[in-house]
């Protein structure tokens, strides 16, 4: 508010007025400076007669704002650094993979689409741990949620928009390398039909991966207004069960109880998705010994995936049920 901050072309009609009395000369009133000067006329208050687009529009606007925010767009330059670095880190190896296969003129990609996503799990976990608290914890920490709920949108609208945005951000993050590999595969003139089918299955896998991880991370992030806690808790939730289960599977494999490998895999999000992609989406299993699932195990995997999605989404909605002003 200091005078040196006011624009050079502002006249006394505007500049020195204390904010409380800025409108003391409403439309047409007050003394007018002579013509030809650069002036900002105080045109008084104007109402808004245009359309009010309601809840579904607000949902979409919140969705796009959160999605952009997950990549630091519309935020400070500092907050763009980490998402963009991670995005590059997850995409560049895909480009290298296809470059190698083009140069080596191999007749197949060295890594499958969904396997690539599974291999990138640590990076995806870091991105998720940064994006989910950004989407959920900050509104709680800075108490911005009352401003949403004092507007037409309902609590459920807020949750669905935020969750969809986080899922979409994660889908973009995982689907980008898949699309890069697919483009490379076409450039290398690998079989079009075969690659298209595999890439489509890869994208379905990305969607499942994004939904499940977003649901878990969103719920954790919504529990704490502290971003640091959220980041740590999400990294723990994504990595610890995965490594624990993988270790147990390794023990089961070496002690020759091969069917137990499949049953154990249902207990962590990462191995659950691994089993689903190897059984239903044409990928190859990352389980010890490349163990495939039996028919019964496959069905259980699908049921557990659906149950986890519903369960975490319901928990997330419940978290906001009592959120008020």
């Amino acid at each position: 508010m200091s005078p040196d901050r006011t624009p050079a072309h502002a006249t006394p009609a505007h500049a020195p007025a204390p904010p409380g009395s800025a409108g003391s000369a409403p439309a047409g009133g007050g003394s007018r400076p002579g013509r030809g000067q650069d002036v900002i006329h105080n045109i008084g208050y104007r109402g808004y007669e245009g359309p009010r687009l309601g809840r579904s529009y607000a949902r979409r606007a919140l969705f796009s704002q959160t999605l952009r925010g997950a990549y630091g767009l519309g935020r400070s330059a500092k907050s763009k650094v980490l998402p963009m670095l991670l995005f590059a880190a997850v995409s560049v190896p895909a480009a290298i993979v296809v470059a190698v296969s083009v140069v080596a003129k191999s007749d197949d990609l060295p890594v499958g689409y969904s396997e690539y996503v599974l291999m990138m799990q640590p990076l995806i976990g870091i991105y998720l741990a940064a994006a989910a608290p950004q989407a959920f914890s900050l509104d709680l920490r800075f108490k911005t949620t009352p401003l949403y709920f004092s507007r037409p949108m309902e609590r459920g609208d807020y949750v669905v928009a935020k969750f969809a945005a986080l899922s979409a951000a994660l889908f973009v993050f995982t689907a980008a390398p898949v699309l890069i590999m697919y483009a490379g595969a076409l450039l290398a003139k690998l079989g079009f039909a075969e690659q298209s089918g595999a890439a489509a299955q890869g994208l379905v896998f990305c969607a499942l991966f994004a939904l499940l991880h977003a649901a878990i991370a969103a719920w954790i992030a919504a529990l704490t207004p502290r971003r640091g806690f959220g980041i740590a808790a999400i990294i723990v939730a994504v990595t610890v069960p995965f490594f624990l289960i993988t270790a147990l599977q390794g023990i089961a494999w070496t002690s020759d109880s091969k069917e137990a490998v499949g049953w154990l895999g249902v207990a962590s999000p990462g191995t659950l998705l691994d089993g689903i992609q190897s059984t239903f989406l044409g990928g190859s299993s990352q389980f010890p010994g490349g163990q495939d699932l039996t028919g019964a195990q496959g069905a259980v995997y699908l049921v557990v995936l659906a149950a986890l999605l519903v369960c975490f989404y319901a928990l997330l909605q419940r978290r906001y049920r009592k959120a008020g002003l």
Partner: protein, 366 residues
């Protein structure tokens, strides 16, 4: 035969501006009188912005609101109550965010129980607490909030620029809000409540944490929200003095019950009070008591020195009496002269709203 579409005669846009015309559209009539020659002023009086009918809100252990019945008309209305008096609960119910245990309430003619979404579209809310993310600029934040209210993006940008200018934020609006002073943050909070051009804004303790100058500016701004923007205001505070200056009408609640609802003028000017200070003389060692006694005999009914008066410094040496008409001045002068007392001062005082509370506590004691 002339077709009269509006039973209240032609509305006068030049007098009340477009916002008022719109605010009358959705408003509920408090009575059904339809005298065609009603002036616009009396027409406005009949429009009720908020109507609350025996509203109760009970939590398992606390009764936040207890059969509250009150109406709020266009203008600036102050809602006064101590902390925990039920102000925030009332705002929650008015926004349709919490169901009332009992009773009904309507805002802009819409029922809070069934039309919460429609109400929130046309009502602005400024919370008491901080609600601004520090890493975005005021412009981005207010644009986002305008879109959350349903404004298309281009309209949201225009309204944001306008509104931030009106609340007095100029160049700072492009800086992240983390570096703002409390006064600037309060302005942004007010701007986000006004950006969608509501018909009514609910301001929860808008002067909290401001220094005296900032408070004066904020109060002036609130006044302008009604006079210049034509938006009705319900403003809560636990400081009575500042609402006295801003509001047209004051509603006092305490313990969830309505203590009083009347215009600010009624509160402060209905009965002016005359305070008289006299000297002591040898004949009358306690001049104040002597004057009080003499005035009583003259039929003026001076106030007894009560516990409320004793709180003010120097009040023990003042005689206060209701200023019924001009002749009271003469009576006081003559009485003092007759007793041979020196008249130090005679001053007219306004009632303070705080007396509402002291009157009541005196009544509780009795």
């Amino acid at each position: 035969m002339t077709l009269v579409q509006c039973p209240y005669g032609p509305l006068r846009p030049e007098a009340y501006g477009p916002t008022h015309l719109r605010s009358t559209g959705g408003g509920r009539e408090t009575d059904t009188a339809s005298d065609a020659d009603a002036t616009s002023r009396s027409y406005r009086r009949r429009v009720t912005v908020i109507a609350i009918e025996s509203l109760s809100k009970r939590y398992p252990r606390v009764t936040a609101l207890d059969r509250l019945t009150v109406g709020v008309e266009p203008g600036v209305t102050g809602l006064v109550g101590a902390n925990g008096a039920g102000k925030s609960t009332l705002i929650k119910i008015l926004l349709g965010l919490a169901p009332a245990t009992q009773g009904t309430a309507s805002v802009l003619g819409m029922d809070v129980a069934t039309q919460g979404g429609a109400i929130r579209e046309r009502v602005g809310y400024m919370p008491e607490h901080d609600c601004l993310p520090p890493d975005v600029s005021a412009t981005e934040f207010v644009v986002h909030m305008a879109r959350m209210s349903g404004l298309p993006t281009t309209a949201a940008r225009e309204r944001t620029a306008d509104t931030l200018r009106h609340v007095g934020l100029y160049e700072e609006r492009y800086r992240p809000m983390g570096g703002y002073s409390t006064g600037m943050k309060q302005r942004v909070k007010l701007a986000q409540a006004l950006v969608h051009d509501p018909r009514l804004v609910l301001l929860d303790e808008p002067t909290n944490g401001l220094d005296p100058v900032g408070r004066d500016e904020m109060l002036g701004l609130i006044r302008r929200v009604h006079t210049d923007f034509g938006i009705s205001v319900l403003v809560t505070s636990h400081l009575l003095g500042e609402l006295e200056r801003t509001s047209d009408h004051i509603v006092v609640i305490d313990g969830g019950k309505l203590l009083r609802s009347s215009s600010t003028a009624d509160f402060t000017q209905r009965t002016a009070v005359l305070a008289v200070e006299v000297t002591d003389t040898d004949a009358h060692p306690d001049g104040t008591a002597a004057l009080r006694e003499a005035l009583r005999q003259a039929g003026c009914a001076p106030h007894e020195p009560g516990p409320a008066g004793a709180l003010a410094p120097g009040a023990g040496h003042l005689v206060t009496l209701d200023l019924a008409d001009e002749s009271v001045y003469d009576t006081v002068r003559d009485t003092a002269a007759h007793l041979g007392l020196g008249l130090v001062r005679m001053e007219q005082r306004r009632h303070q709203i705080s007396e509402v509370f002291t009157e009541r506590s005196a009544g509780d004691v009795a």
